[in-house]
């Protein structure tokens, strides 16, 4: 079996004056989870909709397992589980029936369906709703059924557009767990998200999109080392306001601190010159020992966040 792949070739979409996606060239191959990261309006949904033939490119072409989506949607989507936006399911159907419809259209046998449907419904924690009408479900419940529908054929490629939207925090965590679990198989997962934490949490690689343009596509560890050059930062929270003088004389004098930056009266970010766990541990006790009211000590968000913020702010 060849490894799963998705590929965009000069994929472009214009909505009137809006250039929603600008010549996306991307080739992803192999079993992995790739985060398609970008702020709202970046063009993620637009790209995914062209990958699934829901909308048509102004220019360019999209391929799933090297089959052109634009030329043969049926064959291209055969190996693919899809979740774009939050689709509605015919309200008169139960989750079991909706999944039967999906399975029947995909050519799964009755035996396979009987075996698989309870399994995927349990996976999305909808087992006890299996035979209730979808019509009265909440948005989050419907999203779970949609995820189950995408998982049903155990697809080689999964295209997920913001799969955790509409879910409560616990639901989001559950869905991330499901996706992490799916990575165990021979599977390519391409998942869009505007949440950096979600991508860095779940994915192995990241493609960053901003204003319709792909800024980069690389592994998360490469991004982190390349952009942050190994530098780490610590956010310190105080129980009482700390003034700049105290900061300058006491905190900044500790070894291993390259610079500091005030975030608000009660929070300071310390940029470290070193970055080993040992030096962080030493700092932890030293800062606590200063007696300036430090009550929280937390490694600041990852290098990826820095990259995300600077790249996305810069725009194009």
């Amino acid at each position: 079996m060849t490894s799963p792949s998705i590929r965009a070739e000069g994929l472009t979409k214009r909505f009137g004056p809006t250039l929603a996606l600008d010549r996306l060239d991307l080739k992803i191959e192999g079993s992995k989870c790739v985060g398609f990261l970008g702020p709202n309006g970046a063009g993620k949904t637009t790209a995914l909709k062209m990958f699934t033939d829901m909308i048509f490119p102004t220019a360019g072409e999209a391929f799933l397992n090297e089959v052109s989506v634009q030329k043969d949607r049926k064959r291209a989507l055969a190996a693919c589980g899809v979740l774009i936006e939050t689709p509605e399911i015919y309200p008169s159907l139960t989750p079991t029936e909706a999944l039967q419809m999906v399975g029947k259209l995909r050519g799964l046998s009755d035996a396979a369906l009987a075996d698989r449907i309870p399994g995927v419904l349990a996976e999305v924690k909808m087992g006890e709703w299996a035979n209730k009408k979808v019509g009265k479900f909440s948005k989050g419940m419907k999203q779970r059924i949609n995820i189950a529908a995408a998982l049903l054929p155990d697809p080689e490629i999964l295209l997920l557009d913001e799969p955790t939207t509409g879910l409560d925090p616990r639901g989001m965590a559950e869905v991330r767990d499901i996706i992490r679990g799916l990575k165990r198989g021979q599977r390519l997962i391409f998942m869009s998200s505007h949440l950096l934490a979600e991508v860095s949490d779940v994915c192995d690689e990241v493609a960053l999109l901003n204003r319709g343009k792909l800024l980069f596509y690389d592994t998360i560890s490469n991004v982190s080392t390349q952009f942050a050059r190994g530098q780490r930062a610590i956010d310190v929270g105080f129980s009482r306001p700390i003034d700049d003088a105290t900061l300058g004389t006491k905190l900044a004098q500790l070894t291993g601190i390259a610079s500091w930056e005030r975030m608000d009266p009660l929070r300071v970010r310390l940029k470290l010159s070193g970055g080993t766990d040992g030096s962080i541990e030493r700092l932890f006790s030293e800062v606590a020992g200063l007696g300036v009211g430090a009550v929280r000590f937390q490694e600041s968000a990852s290098a990826l966040e820095e990259v995300y913020m600077t790249q996305v702010e810069r725009g194009d």
Binding site: K49, T52, M54, E88, P153, D154
Partner: protein
């Protein structure tokens, strides 16, 4: 910085435990998928509120006809052809249009409006399959309504005319009504794929088939004085026409004597569609609007 368009990472990542559970699935052929989709769509129709609505409306129409006939006992209740010509011939075009409005006008527009289309379109299925499956399901649901209407009238007919007074022309008329249904439903679905809001499509189809075409026919034949062969209301007169024993309603062009007693009266020339003409026009409507509808749907974006 590292804006690297054709980036292709080489790092294969992620724990690679077991392989995927092998699920044997052979993608069904297009015809097979149409049948499978139709089955689910039809089941959805059977359970939907619109199905109950349609049956209620046909039931009410049947009830009204039954009570009017029962109360007034019009002359035609002794003549099978006149009986079915008036009740079936007069009523079924309306039932057909109603069914097309209720099932067809929403069929595609509703997929956009309710966002159910996103569920279907993520599947490995051709657009023409979706369109055809939905058409057949809507057709079967409409056919059920037409059959109910027929059943109500036949029950009435059995009461007034005796059990075996079923004119063979009623069968012919039923078939023509089904052809008309195909035409109107295909047109309704074509309009449905022009809109992303059901109510617009519904309104347009209802106005067009309940008023628009009759108006057009009147204008064309009255003012321009040409045979309005291209208007579907000209063609559908054959549905009642095959049952009619009144000269003016019979299919084809001919001269009828109207009014007056033995001495008076005058002749008029009626210009009705012949049965082959009418059938051909309705089939042409069906084919053209079906092709146009599929063409539109193939190009419609789920954005």
């Amino acid at each position: 910085m590292v804006a690297n368009p054709v980036a292709s990472s080489s790092v294969a990542a992620g724990p690679q435990g077991g392989g995927r559970t092998a699920i044997a699935a052979t993608l069904p052929g297009t015809l097979d998928q149409i049948v499978r989709l139709t089955r689910f769509q039809f089941r959805d129709y059977l359970r939907s509120r619109r199905f109950i609505l349609m049956f209620a409306i046909v039931g009410v129409i049947g009830l009204i006809l039954t009570s009017v006939v029962g109360y007034f006992r019009p002359a035609f209740i002794s003549d099978p052809l006149a009986f079915y010509g008036s009740l079936w011939g007069g009523g079924v075009p309306f039932v057909v249009v109603l069914a097309a409005v209720i099932y067809g006008a929403d069929a595609i527009a509703g997929e956009f409006q309710n966002k159910t289309g996103y569920f279907l379109m993520g599947l490995p299925i051709r657009r023409i399959t979706v369109y055809t499956g939905k058409f057949i399901a809507a057709f079967l649901a409409s056919l059920a309504a037409v059959a109910l209407f027929a059943a109500i009238l036949v029950a009435n007919g059995a009461y007034y005319l005796g059990g075996n007074a079923l004119p063979w022309q009623l069968g012919e008329s039923f078939i023509l009504a089904v052809v008309y249904l195909l035409a109107v439903l295909a047109a309704a679905m074509m309009f449905s794929s022009m809109f992303k809001t059901s109510s617009y499509a519904t309104l347009l189809v209802a106005l067009l088939f309940l008023i628009g075409f009759s108006l057009l026919q009147a204008v064309v034949s009255g003012l321009a004085n040409i045979t309005p062969w291209f208007v579907i209301t000209y063609a559908n007169t054959i549905i009642g026409g095959v049952l009619s024993n009144s000269c003016e309603n019979q299919p084809g062009m001919h001269t009828c004597k109207v009014g007056g007693g033995p001495g008076g009266g005058f002749s008029i020339t009626v210009n009705n569609a012949t049965i082959p003409e009418g059938a051909a026009i309705m089939i042409a409507y069906f084919l053209l609007t079906a092709v146009a509808g599929i063409f539109l749907f193939e190009r419609e974006e789920f954005s």
